[in-house]
Amino acid sequence: MTERIWEVFRQEDEGDPMVHAGNVNAPDEELAMHYAREFYGRRGESHRLWIVARDAVVELDDPDLLKPPFDRSHKKPGGYVIKHKLEAAKQRAAAEAGE
C-alpha cells in the first residue's frame, strides 16, 4: 500500500479551537479516518477531528516573508506607548462629566 501522511487536528469540546494533535500514515481517506479515530479519539477525548492530507496543506516558511531583517516593532501593538494618552483621555472624560 502506498502510504500518505495525514495531519490530525482535534477539538476537545464544541466551540474549542481545533488543535494539531499529530499525524498518521494511511493509504487513503477512509483508513486515515479510522486511524485518526484510534490515535486521537479512542479514549473519548475528542469531540471532533479534522483529518487533512499533508500534501493538501499550503505551507509558508519563507523567512523573507515571515522574518524579514528590519525592525518590525512598529507592526506590534507594543510598539506604541499609549499609557499616557489613555490617562489623559480618562482625565478629560472625568472633567467633562464634572462640568
Binding site: 500500500m1 494511511a26 479510522h34 479512542r42
Partner: protein, 260 residues
C-alpha cells in the same frame, strides 16, 4: 470484576434460558477478541496494529459487560466465567474455533462475524429484558465503527492484487459453514421468544444475515454453498481453540487464589 446491578425478577426456567443466551453472545465476543489480539505487534502497518488491537480490546470489553450481567443473574463471578472454565464448556460459535490464520483470513472472519453480530445486536436491543436491551444498545454504538473498519478491509482486499483477493476468498470459503453457527439454535429459545427476551428467532436472524452477506460477497467469490446453523454449532471445539484457551487462561491459572 463484579458490580451490583438490580435485575428484574425471572423464574428459574427463564433465568436459565437467558443465561444460555448471554453466555453464547459473551463467549463469541470474548474469543474473537482474543484471536484478534494475536495481531498486536504484527499487523500490516503500525496504524492498523493499533486499530486492530483496539477493536480486539473493545470486543473483550463487551464480553466483560455481558459476563458481569450473567454473573449477577446466576450469582457467579465474571472472572470465573471468563477464565475458570474448561475449553469444552465454552459456547462460542464454531466460526471462532479457527486460529487467526493470515491477515486476509482474519479480515474474512471479522467481516462474517461483525455482520452476524450486527443482526443479533439489533434483536437483543429490542429485548423485553431491559438490562440486556440497554447493554445491547450500548454495544451497538461501538460496533458501528467495527463494521466500517471490517467492510473497509474486505473491499480493500477484494479490489487489491490477485494474491490478496485469492487469500480473502479462501478465508471466506473456509469459514462459511462455521459462520452460520452464530445463529445456532439455543435450547431455551422458544421460552426466550415467548417472553420476548429474544425479539426474533435465530432462524429469522440467520435468513436476514445470509441474504445480506450473499449479496455483498457475490461480486467477490463464487456463489457460496447452501449452509444452515446446526444444533451443535456452539459445542464443537478444536485444537486451535484449546490452544487459545490455554493462552488466555495461563495467567489466571498461574495463581488461582489471587485477587486481581
Amino acid at each position: 470484576m463484579s458490580q451490583a446491578i438490580e435485575l428484574p425478577v425471572l423464574d428459574a426456567a427463564d433465568r436459565d434460558a437467558l443465561a444460555e443466551l448471554l453466555l453464547a453472545v459473551a463467549d463469541d465476543e470474548f474469543v474473537i477478541g482474543f484471536w484478534d489480539s494475536e495481531w498486536t505487534g504484527i499487523a500490516p502497518m503500525l496504524e492498523e496494529d493499533v486499530a486492530t488491537s483496539s477493536i480486539a480490546q473493545d470486543e473483550i470489553g463487551h464480553a466483560k459487560a455481558l459476563y458481569e450481567l450473567l454473573a449477577t443473574l446466576t450469582d457467579d463471578d465474571a472472572d470465573r466465567i471468563a477464565f475458570g472454565r474448561d475449553a469444552a464448556d465454552f459456547r462460542h460459535a464454531a466460526l471462532l474455533n479457527h486460529a487467526r490464520g493470515d491477515w486476509a483470513f482474519s479480515v474474512a472472519r471479522r467481516y462474517l462475524y461483525e455482520t452476524a453480530d450486527a443482526v443479533r445486536l439489533a434483536a437483543l436491543a429490542a429485548s423485553s429484558y431491559e438490562p440486556l436491551a440497554s447493554l445491547a444498545g450500548k454495544i451497538r454504538r461501538e460496533e458501528t465503527y467495527h463494521q466500517l473498519h471490517g467492510e473497509a478491509w474486505l473491499r480493500r482486499l477484494a479490489e487489491s492484487t490477485d494474491a490478496g483477493r485469492d487469500r480473502l476468498v479462501s478465508g471466506l470459503e473456509c469459514l462459511w459453514t462455521d459462520a452460520q453457527e452464530v445463529f445456532a439454535p439455543l435450547e431455551g429459545e422458544s421460552r426466550l421468544l415467548e417472553r420476548r427476551i429474544l425479539a426474533k428467532p435465530m432462524q429469522a436472524m440467520h435468513a436476514e444475515w445470509q441474504t445480506q452477506v450473499r449479496d455483498r460477497l457475490r461480486p467477490i467469490c463464487a456463489e457460496l454453498p447452501d449452509a444452515s446453523p446446526t444444533p451443535d454449532g456452539r459445542r464443537r471445539r478444536t485444537d486451535d481453540f484449546r490452544w487459545l484457551h490455554g493462552e488466555f487462561t495461563s495467567v489466571a491459572r498461574s495463581e488461582e487464589t489471587a485477587t486481581w
